[in-house]
Structure formats: structure tokens, C-alpha cells
């Protein structure tokens, strides 16, 4: 878990459960503003019946709140990370990417051992 690893190395271990709930800040500075920004961006196009129309105002509000708490440059780089994982999740889903442990779990004898997950 990259959040657990990086925050521990940073000296302030994050509460990784915040990834599941999306509530609170997880012990990460501006965590709540970042989570609101991610959810507003993603949920604006998360499926039928959840169209962007209902989320435009929330995304604008989340963006303004993040900029107010940090800087425009911070928001831009947060948006870039969102874009990166909109990309990487599609690479994974579009190519049937699996972890070696999933293969081993069904009896495959794969010898791949790296713990590297790429950038996803």
C-alpha cells in the first residue's frame, strides 16, 4: 500500500481506512479537501443516473475549497494525479491486468516475484 508506505516514511502514518470511507483526512494534511476533490471529479461521471450535471456544482465547490486551503498549483497537481489514475485504472481494466498473487491463488506456478505495482 503506497499510502501506508509513504506516510510511514514521512513520519506520520496515515489511517488508510479513509480510502474506503472517503470521510475525514486520514491524518494527511488537507486530506479531507483532497478526498472531496477526488470524489467530486470521479462521481461526476461514474455511471448512468449519476451524470455530470448533478455534480458540476459540487466539483466547482470542491475545487474552490481545495484552492482556498492550499494553492492553485496544488490543485493543478492534484488534478494531474487524478488524471493519471483515471488513465492507469483503464490500462488495468482494459488489458485484464492481474497481480501475480491472483494467479498463484488459482494454482499457477508463475515465478514473477517483484512487488512493483507500476504506477497504478
Amino acid at each position: 500500500m503506497m499510502l501506508s508506505w509513504s506516510s510511514s516514511e514521512d513520519g506520520h502514518p496515515a489511517e488508510v481506512g479513509v480510502l474506503l470511507t472517503g470521510e475525514g483526512d486520514g491524518g494527511v494534511p488537507f486530506g479531507s479537501e483532497l478526498l472531496r476533490f477526488v470524489d467530486a471529479s470521479a462521481n461526476g461521471n461514474n455511471g448512468p443516473g449519476e451524470g455530470a450535471g448533478g455534480w458540476v456544482e459540487e466539483l466547482e465547490a470542491a475545487r474552490r475549497a481545495l484552492v482556498a486551503a492550499t494553492t492553485v498549483e496544488f490543485m493543478v497537481d492534484a488534478a494531474a494525479v487524478i488524471a493519471n489514475f483515471e488513465m492507469m485504472t483503464r490500462v488495468a481494466d482494459g488489458t485484464g491486468a492481474r497481480f501475480p498473487s491472483e494467479i498463484k491463488a488459482v494454482g499457477d506456478s508463475s515465478t514473477w516475484t517483484s512487488a512493483d505495482r507500476g504506477t497504478a
Partner: protein
């Protein structure tokens, strides 16, 4: 503009997005520029559609375009059976890999602009000329992905080898990743950052986005 302050985009990020959209409209390994641009157009439209048709609806009656729409908007509904069905309907496996590369090249700049409150960038006019035919050789089956990959298979992470069958798509993917997130070398440093988000803040965004998209990565 939806923020009160002017938005100044890093040049490396601006360039990566501009190059990605040019890449969409240029001839690819198996598809010409017009076909790739159409896939990009479908992907951007699907990503931003406020009321899309359900994922299983073949809106275009064209297996590659319908797969592009599904990947752009409902990626978590793609299964190996959907991939196999597309192949049964005449899509070549390498065409599928190229389609994935085109969709992500179109979606990344669009997702960025959508999140940051910036205008959605237009796709350029299609580049002339036939497909390049530049496909990795030999291609082999993988256990970590459905799609064929450049040999040898399964020696690196599944997302790393995912687009390796089509080198131009692989190159574009990692150029985008370096500008939007970080390079491979920077990834091994848990404290690396650009001076804006700390590494834990970047990982908070990455982890939450992946969860919202129901992607196990």
C-alpha cells in the same frame, strides 16, 4: 474558469497532454489517424456524457468503438468475456491494445481538464498515411494480462507490460505518467514530490480514485 485565480499549468504537463492528443490523431500500429481520432472522440464523449447508455448497449454497432466507449466510461465492467466477444466479432488482439492506448491518451487530458476546471482540449485533425505496422515482435500470451505482450511475458508488473505489444502506446503511457504522477525512478523514493502535494497526499488521491473506480490497483 472555475477558480478565482489564474491557472498556470506546468510546461511538462501541458506538453505531455498536447503530445497525447496529437498521438491520438496520428497513424498508429494497426489503425490510421482517422480511425484513431474517432476512437478518441468516442472516449472523450463517453467520459463527459452526463447521461450515458448502460455499458452493454452497443451504441455504435462497431465492436472497437463500443469497447472504447465502455473503457472510457465503465472500465470496471470490462471482463475477459467482453474482450473475447470483441475478438470473436473481428477485432484483432493488437487492435484492442492499440484501442486501449488511444482511449487512455484521450481520457487523461480530458480528466485533468475536467477536474481542474479548464476547457476540454480538442483533438487535432487526423494525420495522413497508413498504419505504421510497428508492433513488438515476438508477441506472446501472458498470465498477468488477457492481451498479448512483448516477449518475455510476466517478467514485470501487469500494468507495465500491458501495452508492450504496441511500443508507441507504451511510450505515450509512460510519458503521461511521468508528467502527471512521477517516473519509475522517482517512485522508489517514498518522499519524492514536486513541492506541491507531498507523496502521502499523492497516494491518498491515487488510492481513493482507484477505489471509486472499483479498480483493484
Amino acid at each position: 474558469m472555475s477558480t478565482d485565480s489564474p491557472v498556470d499549468i506546468r510546461e511538462d504537463l501541458r506538453l505531455a497532454h498536447r503530445l497525447a492528443l496529437a498521438h491520438v490523431a496520428a497513424p498508429g500500429a494497426t489503425l490510421d489517424g482517422a480511425r484513431r481520432r474517432r476512437i478518441g472522440e468516442v472516449a472523450i464523449g463517453a467520459y463527459l456524457d452526463p447521461g450515458p447508455q448502460p455499458p452493454w448497449v452497443p451504441v455504435y454497432g462497431d465492436p472497437l468503438l463500443d469497447a472504447a466507449r465502455r473503457l472510457a466510461r465503465f472500465a470496471d465492467t470490462l471482463t475477459e468475456a467482453v474482450y473475447a466477444q470483441a475478438l470473436a466479432e473481428g477485432v484483432e488482439a493488437v487492435e484492442w491494445v492499440e484501442m486501449v492506448g488511444v482511449v487512455i491518451a484521450a481520457v487523461a487530458p480530458t480528466a485533468f481538464a475536467h477536474a481542474a476546471g479548464l476547457p476540454i482540449l480538442d483533438l487535432p485533425t487526423p494525420g495522413d498515411g497508413p498504419p505504421t505496422g510497428l508492433i513488438a515482435s515476438p508477441l506472446v500470451s501472458a498470465t498477468l494480462n488477457w492481451v498479448p505482450v512483448a516477449a518475455p511475458a510476466d517478467q514485470t508488473a501487469s500494468v507495465v507490460q500491458a501495452l508492450s505489444a504496441v511500443p508507441a502506446e507504451w511510450d505515450n503511457l509512460w510519458r503521461l505518467a511521468e508528467a502527471q504522477y512521477m517516473s519509475d525512478a522517482q517512485m522508489s523514493d517514498p518522499l519524492w514530490n514536486r513541492g506541491t502535494l507531498s507523496r502521502p497526499q499523492m497516494e491518498l488521491v491515487a488510492g481513493r480514485l482507484s477505489l471509486v473506480r472499483r479498480c483493484f490497483f
